[in-house]
Every structure is written in structure tokens, then in C-alpha cells.
């Protein structure tokens, strides 16, 4: 008999849930998204003995309240999708805390199978857990596992099949006693709910009553819309609070948590666990004596962060170079084989150039994520957050914010794309958003090329000091703006820090590779599509409308004249030599034509139209157009400046000659230079980053990032230019 069992896999963070999920589903797992939010939804299939199990991996949560997105998602999947069986993976080394989630799952009523993970660690520490006794006391199958080695996988799925057969989809919510103060009130509330059929289609009455007492935001909001019983229930809640305040000076939700832990304590004391000392230090605590040491800790952390950065961008440069070479080759092929015209220009400059710049980032993302996943699974990132929290909290950020900031270019040469993506490790939504929105201010690799060119032009005496100042300014702006955001747009109490410091555990190669691959593939897929569209748009904007025919004809005539002059001046030159000389002579004219074409295009006109506005900030018109182009990718700044200064193609790596031209242009006064420096740092992130921001938050915040950064950058630039000019005259 073939039947499909729908299974949800739940568990607390760091319990090895994902490892077990991967072990069970093999390579069949697919990543999706829960609609409207950024929590990943992993699904996979397991086949055995005619049973097909469809597994969905729930986000890791310590509890099932509605305080975080993850908890809400986990709960709603169970309530709404009504799985046949829920697997709850547990960290056996922290059995008490793990059972806290298990008990809540039992209260919802879903047929449960417990996977007791990390049993090898438990045994090694000399503790024995009586699995049968635990199973008997809870009335739920318990399977000992070592997920890292794949042990217990088959037994777990066997138990799932048996449970599905036994329960036949019938749920039996577990009734936990919450003591003499609350039980009678819970009884009255359940009866009121049953009598009114209040939300009973979705929830078990008693569970709903408990959630009301726990003051659960989501349930209360739902209840308020559902009818008058809501008010009756709230009155009962107030009554309950009066009782608990009088008898134990606390709130009902505290009593509920106490009784849950009391129940668990009672279980464990019946001989489930022997030989444990809850306060005994483990090896990790010994390692942490050094790794989080007052002086050594920060030093080690700096070394690790710098090392990661170095590896990402030095090692990543090679494959990035190959990919870029590959796209260059593709572009050359296009130029050679496609007849000159719009199709060629669109394909080569627009599509190949634009998509190539996106794909070029993938090696960086691969390497960065592999290391990040490794450090995260190892448990080191929790230590980083622990050490840095005190400093970052001042600015409304979180200890975990440091990694995204450094990746984005906190050390020049980073990239905001992987930077924004690795903000996922932040579990606090407000701090995470502030990090995502400010990280693009950092001096990424593309901005670095622009700054190198500008610095060489305007601060030739001390380029190092100038660059250092730029980086310091970036950090200052990031911290100040996040403080600003956290006291206005993303205002709100900082999310509680309360965080587990998991023991160090060596991650599996398979897990690291799998996670990395998932991220990279999503990046390529999502970013690729939007960026393709924007690339085409940017190309069109900088190409159309074209110079009128008579203007082009004038340039052509000039070129012909130049060719004839060359021929006349060198009557005895060979054909090849003549061609080179002609090209040289025509280059100047062609550059002038390119400049004219750029000025004539939509981008040129827009930048011209913007002049009254940008004059306030003192931008020369060439910077205007280059800044517009740099929205596609910040490297474009240098090449557009080159076109605008009619230099033809300039190698972004060696922009000295352009720097000389800039230095000679009187439009670049010191205030104007500083104003462009600031604008470059602060304005709209490049389009790849914008797409990633949208993916990691939503389009509303991505739009805010575009418009907000633009306005902020403009205000800062105007201030710098106006104050600077006033001071200098």
C-alpha cells in the first residue's frame, strides 16, 4: 500500500535538525520561501517500504510563541498544514530545554516522534538517558540518533510510519496541568470557546485558552476579529492575572512556563537521566577561556574576520577573473560574429556585460558562504556576537552585525552583495534590517576602484591617508545612520539578546556544501533575472536617442579627413603601419563623438536636467552622468567618467591618465571633490545589491534603501559643498 505521509521536522536551533533533515531526504531537498517572508522553506522526500514521506523542514525555534517570524512560521505550518506526523529533533545534551519545545508540540496535539540527537556526546560525558522510560512517560516514540553520522535515520522514519499508521491523522492534544490557580480558569475558558465554536476550526479549545493566557499576539489579533467571545476571554484572562498576582506576584504566562518546566523536571527526576551535572563545564567552556578572553578574544576575532575577508577576496579573485575573462571572450565573439548594430550592442554591452557582472560575484559568494556556514555551524559566530554586542548595541545594532558590515567593505574591497546576504545570521529583525540598510555604505571593491582614481587625481601626495579617511568615514556613517534609523524608521526596543552559546561542533562537509550551494543557486537565479532587465534598461538609457544623422556624418567626414591627412603625411608607409596611424589619428575624433553621443542620450539629458539640483552639491556634469551609470555597478563610474572626459575606453585597474585629466579640470574644487566623495559613499546601492536587499527584506525596504540613500547622500553632499565653499571664500 503506497501512501504519502506528510511530515514536519521541528527542533530548536543548534540541535542538528538540518543535518538530520539532509540525512533523511538525501539530495532531494528543495529550497523555497514561505510566502511574503524571508524564512527558507526546505522540502524533501523519503521513500521506504512503500511509504512515501513528504518532509518539510520548519525553522529552528526554542518555543512556539509568536514573538519571532521563525516561531510563527513553525506554528502556522503545524496548525494550518496539519502534518500527519511531526518529528522533533532534540539536543540530548540539553534535554530539559529541548523537551520544552516537545511539550508544546504535544499540547498542539500533532502526532509526535522525538529524535534524541547528539547521543554520542551524551555517552562520552558519562551520562545515561533511559530512552524507553522517556518514551513511556511521554507516550511518544523516542529514537536515539547521531545525525552527524546518519545514525538513527532509518529508525526515525520507521517510527514515523508506525505513528502515522496508528494515529490515522487523528490529533490528541496533551493536557498539561498549570496548577490550582490557572486550571479552573482554563477550564472555563475552554468551555466558553467550545460553546461559541470560537476559532475551533483552526485551534484546539484548550490550546487556544492557554495562548490567551500567554498573551499571544497573533492569537489575540485573530480572536479580536472573530467575535464577541474574544472579550469574554480577555475578561477571564484579567481574572487569571488578578489571581496569580495575588498568590504568586507574577503573570499567568510566567506560571505557564514554570509549570511546563516543572512537568519536564518531574519526568527527568523519575530516572530518565543519570549521572549528569547540569553545571559541569564542557570542553567548549575550556576553549572559550581563550577564545573569548578579555585580550586574546578580540585579537583572535580580528584575525579570523580579517582572514575570512582575505580568503574571500584573494582566493575569489581567481575564479572571478576567469568568469570575467569568459564573458569578455563571449563579448568578443559577439562583436566578431554579430553584425554591427543594435543587436550587437544590446547583446554585448547590455546583456553580456550586465549579466557577466552578476555572475562574476558568484565565486565570492561561494567562498564567503562556505566559510560563514562553517564558522556558524562550528559555533564561532555566537562567540563573535557575544564579544561585540556591547559596542554595536550603542548604535542600535547587534553583535552579529559585524560580519555583514565587514563583508560589505568594512575593510575596503568587500562587496555588499554577500554582505547583505550574510545578515541572515541575525535573529533580531530590527537589528537585521538596520544592518542590511546601512551595510551598502561600506567601501566595496567597485567603489574602491573609483576612489583610487579620484584619490590619485586629487590627493596625490598622500593617497593612503585619504583612503583610510574614506574607510573611517564609511564606518562612521554606517554606525550613525543605523542609530538614526533605529531611533526613527526602525524604532523599537532592541530585541532581547538572550542567546545560546552552543558547544563547538565540527560541521560536516556535506552540510556546509549543501547550504552554500542553496544560497548561491538562489542568488544566481533571482538576481540574474532582475539584473538582466535592468542591464537592458541601463544600456538603452545610455544609447538612445542616438546622435542625429548629420552630426554623425560630420564626425565621419572628420575621420575621413584625418585618414587622408595621415596618408598624405606618410606617403611611403606600409598598409599595416598606415592603419595604426590612421586609428591613432581618428581616436580623438571618435572619443569626441562618444562624448557627444553620451551627452545626447537619455542618461546625458537626465544628467543635464539635473544640473540645477546637482549644482547645489557642486558636481561637475561628468560626475553626474557617471553616478547615474554607476547604479548598474559602481565600477561603471570610472569607465563613464572616461567616456565623459572623452578618453575612450579606460582600464578601470589603471586609471592614472584619467586622474591627470581630472586634476587639470578647474570644476573640481576641493569642496566639490569632497562632496562627490561623500555622495559616492552614501548614495543608492548598485542594482545587484538592491535586488538582494529586496530578497532579504522586501521591495518596500529596497525602495526605501534606493530613495533614502539618495536623499541622504544628496543632503550630506550639499552640506559639504556649501559649507566648504563658504569657508574657502
Amino acid at each position: 500500500m503506497a501512501q504519502t505521509i506528510r511530515v514536519a521536522v521541528s527542533g530548536q536551533p543548534n540541535c542538528g535538525k538540518s543535518t538530520m533533515f539532509n540525512a533523511i531526504t538525501g539530495g532531494s531537498a528543495r529550497v523555497g520561501n514561505y510566502p511574503g517572508i524571508t524564512v527558507d522553506r526546505l522540502e524533501g522526500i523519503y521513500r521506504e517500504n512503500g511509504h512515501i514521506s513528504q518532509l518539510v523542514d520548519l525553522p529552528g525555534t526554542y518555543s512556539l510563541t509568536s514573538y519571532s517570524m521563525e516561531e510563527l512560521v513553525a506554528r502556522n505550518v503545524i496548525v494550518d498544514e496539519h502534518p500527519d506526523v511531526v518529528i522533533n529533533m532534540m539536543d540530548a545534551t540539553a534535554l530539559e530545554r529541548s523537551l520544552y519545545l516537545a511539550v508544546q508540540l504535544m499540547e498542539i496535539g500533532a502526532p509526535l516522534v522525538l529524535g534524541l540527537n547528539m547521543m554520542d556526546e551524551v555517552r562520552r560525558s558519562g551520562v545515561t538517558i533511559d530512552v524507553d522510560k522517556l518514551s513511556q512517560l511521554l507516550g511518544v516514540p523516542v529514537v536515539p540518533c547521531v545525525a552527524r553520522l546518519g545514525q538513527g535515520r532509518k529508525e526515525l522514519m520507521q517510527a514515523v510510519a508506525e505513528t502515522a499508521d496508528r494515529t490515522q491523522g487523528k490529533w490528541t492534544p496533551f493536557r498539561l496541568s498549570y496548577g490550582p490557580d490557572l486550571d479552573p480558569i482554563l477550564e472555563r475558558m475552554s468551555r466558553a470557546i467550545e460553546d461559541a465554536q470560537f476559532l475551533t476550526g483552526r485551534y484546539d479549545p484548550r490550546w487556544l485558552a492557554v495562548k490567551y493566557l500567554e498573551n499571544d499576539e497573533q492569537v489575540l489579533a485573530e480572536g479580536a476579529k472573530a467575535g464577541a467571545t474574544h472579550d469574554a476571554l480577555l475578561a477571564l484572562c484579567a481574572e487569571a492575572e488578578a489571581v496569580t498576582r495575588k498568590n504568586s506576584a507574577t503573570t499567568p504566562d510566567a506560571i505557564i512556563a514554570d509549570w511546563r518546566y516543572g512537568f519536564i523536571n518531574g519526568l527527568i527526576k523519575q530516572g530518565v537521566v543519570r549521572g549528569s551535572d547540569a553545571l559541569r563545564r564542557n570542553n567548549s567552556d575550556a576553549i572559550d577561556k581563550i577564545v573569548t578572553h578579555k585580550l586574546l578574544g578580540p585579537l583572535i576575532m580580528l584575525a579570523v574576520l580579517y582572514g575570512m575577508f582575505l580568503v574571500t577576496f584573494t582566493l575569489g579573485a581567481y575564479p572571478q577573473g576567469w568568469i570575467e575573462k569568459g564573458f569578455e571572450w563571449l563579448g568578443e565573439m559577439g562583436t566578431t560574429y554579430i553584425p554591427e548594430g543594435y543587436v550587437q550592442s544590446l547583446l554585448v554591452s547590455g546583456i553580456i556585460g550586465g549579466v557577466g557582472s552578476v555572475i562574476g560575484f558568484t565565486p565570492l559568494i561561494c567562498i564567503m558562504f562556505a566559510m560563514l556556514v562553517f564558522l556558524e555551524d562550528l559555533g564561532y559566530m555566537a562567540r563573535v556576537a557575544y564579544m561585540l554586542d556591547r559596542v554595536l548595541r550603542i548604535f542600535g545594532l547587534h553583535g552579529m552585525s559585524v560580519m555583514p558590515l565587514i563583508m560589505s567593505g568594512g575593510i575596503p574591497g568587500g562587496c555588499a552583495v554577500p554582505g547583505v546576504m550574510c545578515a541572515r545570521t541575525l535573529r533580531s529583525p530590527r537589528e537585521r534590517l538596520a544592518t542590511i540598510l546601512t551595510a551598502p555604505f561600506m567601501v566595496c571593491g567597485a567603489k574602491t576602484t573609483a576612489y583610487l582614481m579620484l584619490v590619485a587625481a586629487f590627493f596625490p601626495d598622500n593617497p593612503t591617508r585619504a583612503m583610510f579617511f574614506v574607510v573611517l568615514a564609511a564606518w562612521a556613517f554606517v554606525l550613525l545612520v543605523s542609530k538614526l534609523l533605529r531611533s526613527t524608521m526602525i524604532r523599537g526596543e532592541s530585541t532581547p539578546f538572550v542567546m545560546e552559546i552552543p558547544p563547538y561542533r565540527l560541521p560536516t562537509l556535506r552540510g556546509v556544501l549543501l547550504h552554500t550551494w542553496e544560497r548561491v543557486w538562489q542568488y544566481v537565479k533571482k538576481a540574474g533575472t532582475v539584473i538582466l532587465a535592468v542591464s537592458i534598461l541601463m544600456w538603452a538609457v545610455m544609447t538612445f536617442p542616438e546622435l542625429p544623422e548629420d552630426t554623425v556624418a560630420q564626425y565621419d567626414t572628420q575621420k575621413e579627413q584625418a585618414a587622408e591627412q595621415v596618408k598624405a603625411a606618410h606617403p611611403d608607409a606600409g598598409e599595416e603601419e598606415l592603419a595604426t596611424l590612421t586609428e591613432d589619428a581618428q581616436k580623438e575624433i571618435e572619443d569626441a563623438q562618444n562624448e557627444a553621443a553620451l551627452k545626447y542620450s537619455t542618461a546625458g539629458r537626465v544628467s543635464e536636467a539635473l544640473t540645477p539640483l546637482t549644482n547645489l552639491a557642486g558636481f561637475p556634469w561628468q560626475a553626474n552622468i557617471a553616478l547615474i551609470g554607476a547604479f548598474a555597478a559602481k565600477e561603471v563610474f570610472v569607465s563613464t567618467m572616461a567616456t565623459a572626459y572623452s578618453m575612450g575606453k579606460v582600464d578601470p585597474e589603471e586609471p592614472e591618465s584619467l586622474s591627470e585629466r581630472l586634476a587639470a579640470d578647474p570644476a573640481w574644487s576641493l569642496p566639490a571633490v569632497l562632496s562627490v566623495f561623500a555622495f559616492m559613499l552614501l548614495y543608492t546601492p548598485c542594482m545587484v545589491t538592491v535586488v538582494v536587499i529586496a530578497r532579504e527584506s522586501n521591495w518596500k525596504w529596497a525602495t526605501f534603501s534606493v530613495v533614502g540613500s539618495l536623499c541622504f547622500a544628496f543632503v550630506v553632499s550639499v552640506l559639504i559643498y556649501q559649507v566648504g565653499t563658504a569657508l574657502l571664500t
Partner: protein
């Protein structure tokens, strides 16, 4: 002697006597198992003396000093 958890020195043990936090913070503290009757030991402090790391129920937990203020402990 009952004090705030913030006052505990590194390596000092205590037993929680009350948790006075409410709302989200209270929920998170309790979810992690910081409920009255729980024994704990401070195992470390971050380089800037905040947050604090606590060993309890077989795992290590860290929380900010401002959060530890809501937890009263009987020093052992």
C-alpha cells in the same frame, strides 16, 4: 542572600528565585529555561564585561547585564 544575577562573579553559583521580566524579554528568558528553582553558574563575561555567559541545564547561555537585572538569584 538574594541578589540580581548581574552581581554574580565569574565561577559563582546561584539558584534563581524570581524572574520579573514581562513581555517578549520575559518569554525569551523563560523559554530558555531560566525559571525559578534553576541552578546556574556564571562561566564568563565578554571582554567589555557585558554580556554575561551562564552555565545551566547542561548548556551555556549568554544575556546582557540589563537582562540579567530582571533575574533574582540566591547566591550559593
Amino acid at each position: 542572600m538574594v541578589t540580581s544575577m548581574r552581581q554574580l562573579a565569574v565561577n559563582q553559583r546561584g539558584c534563581i528565585s524570581a524572574v520579573t521580566a514581562s513581555g517578549e524579554l520575559g518569554r525569551r528568558i523563560r523559554d530558555m529555561g531560566l525559571v525559578p528553582g534553576t541552578q546556574l553558574m556564571v562561566v564568563g563575561r565578554a571582554p567589555l564585561a557585558d554580556p554575561v555567559a551562564v552555565r545551566m541545564k547542561g548548556f551555556t547561555l549568554s544575556l546582557r547585564n540589563s537582562e540579567a537585572d530582571f533575574i533574582s538569584v540566591e547566591a550559593l
